[in-house]
């Protein structure tokens, strides 16, 4: 935290990564699993439709990938800005 502008840039980059991740989080669960389900009725996945699968299983897989990608991106960002532990 030696340099004020560098720490502001770090925080802004962090907020951007969080923002993108939250969009993915919202789309795969609330979007595909709930709101968009009627619109996706035609796409069938094993006896049901895509929206149903996202609500019961798919969103959880996306959540998992999302957290690890976020952790990896943040560790990289920490090093780029020299704020890692």
């Amino acid at each position: 935290m030696s340099d004020k502008s560098s720490s502001n840039a770090y925080w802004a980059a962090n907020l951007r990564i969080i923002g993108i991740s939250l969009v993915v989080w919202f789309v795969c669960s609330f979007g595909l699993g709930i709101i968009l389900r009627p619109a996706l009725e035609g796409i069938s996945v094993g006896g049901a439709d895509l929206g149903f699968w996202f609500a019961q299983n798919g969103s959880i897989y996306v959540f998992l990938v999302l957290i690890f990608v976020y952790a990896w991106r943040m560790n990289k960002l920490d090093r780029e800005h020299g704020v890692e532990e």
Partner: protein, 600 residues
């Protein structure tokens, strides 16, 4: 070897393991007692978090709820997992960097206010006590069913075990015990699921069985399930929700409620580094997802098995082309002994209303079905009660699995209930000893004195939880709505704003918490009765009375929005936080310099 002996061996062996770990991992300092000395590997911490999080409700009840609720109940699956994304992105790394022991401590320091800390302690205790009652009941019921002793005796044994490792081991003992409990519970949950998936669909992975083909009929499994249940007048398993807004808000409330539960948040104080807090949330979700992605398969397959048991013709063709199962067969067929066992508990009730010697299971609320029923001389659904909770526990028996699988499920259900109870008790005792005693009553207490106080409060919390488990208030199940509502509407928003905004001040945070708390509690009490006292509700608890169809279970998300809004408005009308608090916010945003946590 008979079933009772097998159960005794499995449960006894796992208990001996937990006690052994407790003796090995005794806590010697307050840092070890509250946060396991910040030395827990992130993968192990993730595993412990998984066991901490997955309670008797996840293990025993969730699949049953999904079995009978279908698509709509996906809210539980998404809500109870999606919350970990919020934890990893918005709370865990920053709270770890802050480096103290409890959630109220962060709120007290960030909002430079003893009042805010006290308010947080009150919310924490209400949330955790509510939760712990259900766990203690779960322990009692599981013991009662599998070890053939009374529920109360089972509860005493469970309380004594938790006492042994929680009081002496603190967070350190609890964490390592939870790792063992996770292994027991996940094996116990998935093995029967794999067997059943193989029997019904031929798929080894239940997740693939869910979207696979039903072997006996040759059609897709979910299509088969929908066909069988709709034929009997029930709602299709994959059918649409009646109220999309309510499902949306319910999912949101569960997600932000999960991220705001104090006993989950404190798990991230135990890892060595900020980056470990991020990945630990990911590992926690890996271990949670192992159970949660299997749960819809367990639920839907149990539902199909149950229905085809009642209507043997449904296995390959249509249920109504053949006759329902006869009472004589239930009483004589050894494969159906599980029905008789569960009938004895009163959780499954069958009654031959029309006296034709057969048990017709159908939806007698469906008008189309009642026309058919009248033609055939049926006088109502003859399976008059199926408790959701029996689906997971009876699953291995329904599928005629070997006795050791049944014993394993008993040990798994106990592991799920005990691990969650221990985590909750730690959150309660640290709030009492660290936030109340050290934080306000006696700040000069020595390390040794605080450790003793922590152990005494833990013992006290166990006694209270045991008492409430023995004498559960009639409203125990409903209070869970309040616990999640409060976590969502009070704790999560202030923590998030405390990190992401420097402008939110003491006045704003207190106003936000109060608005969230009062709004959520009043909405729930309106339908459930004031402080859950029966008969004091102002409106009947039915969907027709809900504002925009929003059920009391889903209101936490709305309370959270009001919390955010009022904190923002009040903060902007009052003066900004002092310089040292703004510097504190700056420092928690940067990972560098996260040392060992201290209580000072």
């Amino acid at each position: 070897m008979d079933q009772f002996t097998l159960n005794l061996i499995f449960v006894g062996a796992t208990f001996a393991l937990y006690i052994g770990i407790a003796i090995w991992a005794r806590a010697g300092t307050t840092a070890e007692f509250y946060a396991a000395g910040q030395g827990v590997n992130p993968v192990l911490n993730g595993m412990a978090t998984g066991a901490d999080w997955m309670s008797a409700a996840s293990f025993i009840s969730m699949a049953g709820i999904i079995a009978f609720g279908g698509y709509e109940t996906s809210a539980y699956l998404m809500g109870w997992t999606g919350g970990y994304v919020l934890l990893a992105l918005l709370l865990a790394p920053y709270l770890r960097k802050f480096g103290k022991f409890t959630v109220p401590e962060f709120i007290g320091d960030r909002f430079y206010s003893g009042g805010a800390r006290l308010l947080a302690v009150v919310c924490l205790i209400v949330i955790s006590v509510t939760y712990v009652i259900g766990q203690m009941r779960g322990v009692g019921v599981t013991f009662g069913r599998f070890l053939e002793i009374s529920t109360d005796q089972g509860l005493y044994i469970g309380a004594a075990i938790v006492f042994a490792y929680a009081v002496f081991g603190g967070m350190k003992g609890i964490t390592y015990t939870q790792v063992a409990q996770y292994v027991v519970l996940i094996i116990a949950y998935t093995i029967p699921a794999i067997f059943i998936s193989l029997q019904l669909t031929g798929a080894f992975l239940p997740q693939l069985g869910l979207i696979g083909t039903h072997t006996a009929s040759g059609v897709e499994f979910l299509t088969k399930l929908d066909q069988v249940v709709t034929e009997l007048g029930f709602k299709a398993y994959t059918g649409e929700t009646a109220n999309m807004l309510n499902m949306f808000l319910f999912t949101m409330s569960l997600m932000i409620g999960t991220a705001g539960l104090p006993h989950v948040i404190i798990r991230f104080f135990t890892v060595p580094k900020v980056s470990d807090a991020r990945s630990s949330a990911g590992w926690a979700l890996v271990f949670i997802a192992l159970l949660y992605t299997v749960a819809p398969a367990v639920g839907s397959m149990a539902r199909l098995n149950l229905t085809t048991t009642m209507w043997p013709g449904a296995e390959q063709g249509n249920a109504l082309d053949g006759d329902a199962i006869t009472r004589a067969e239930i009483d004589s067929n050894p494969d159906l002994s599980w029905i008789r066992t569960w009938e004895k508990t009163g959780l499954l009730v069958m009654e031959d209303k029309n006296g034709d010697g057969m048990i017709q299971y159908y939806n007698d609320k469906s008008e189309a079905m009642n026309v058919i029923a009248a033609e055939r001389g049926w006088t109502g659904n003859e399976v008059t009660k199926i408790d959701n909770d029996i689906m997971v526990l009876a699953n291995p028996e329904i599928a005629a699995l070997p006795g050791w699988v049944i014993a394993l499920v008993a040990a798994g259900a106990l592991a799920a209930a005990l691990s969650t109870a221990a985590g909750l008790l730690l959150a309660i005792s640290s709030a009492i000893s660290h936030d109340l005693i050290k934080g306000s009553i006696n700040p000069n207490i020595s390390e040794k004195g605080e450790l003793l106080a922590a152990r005494v409060s833990m013992g006290f919390a166990i006694v209270v939880a045991t008492y409430l488990g023995l004498n559960p208030p009639g409203f125990a199940a409903q209070v869970v709505a309040l616990a999640f509502g409060l976590a969502a509407a009070t704790i999560f928003p202030v923590l998030m704003m405390g990190i992401f905004s420097k402008r939110i001040n003491k006045e704003g945070a207190i106003a936000g918490m109060l608005v969230g708390l009062i709004f959520t509690a009043v909405y729930i009490f309106t339908y459930k009765g004031w402080f859950f006292i029966p008969g004091t509700n102002m409106l009947e608890d039915v969907a027709a009375n809900y504002v925009f169809g929003i059920s009391p279970l889903s209101i936490g998300a709305v309370g959270a929005v009001l919390n955010f809004a009022s904190a923002y408005i009040v903060s902007n009308m009052t003066k900004e936080p002092p310089q040292h608090v703004q510097e504190l916010v700056e420092s928690i945003r940067i990972p560098r310099g996260a040392g060992v946590a201290t209580g000072h």
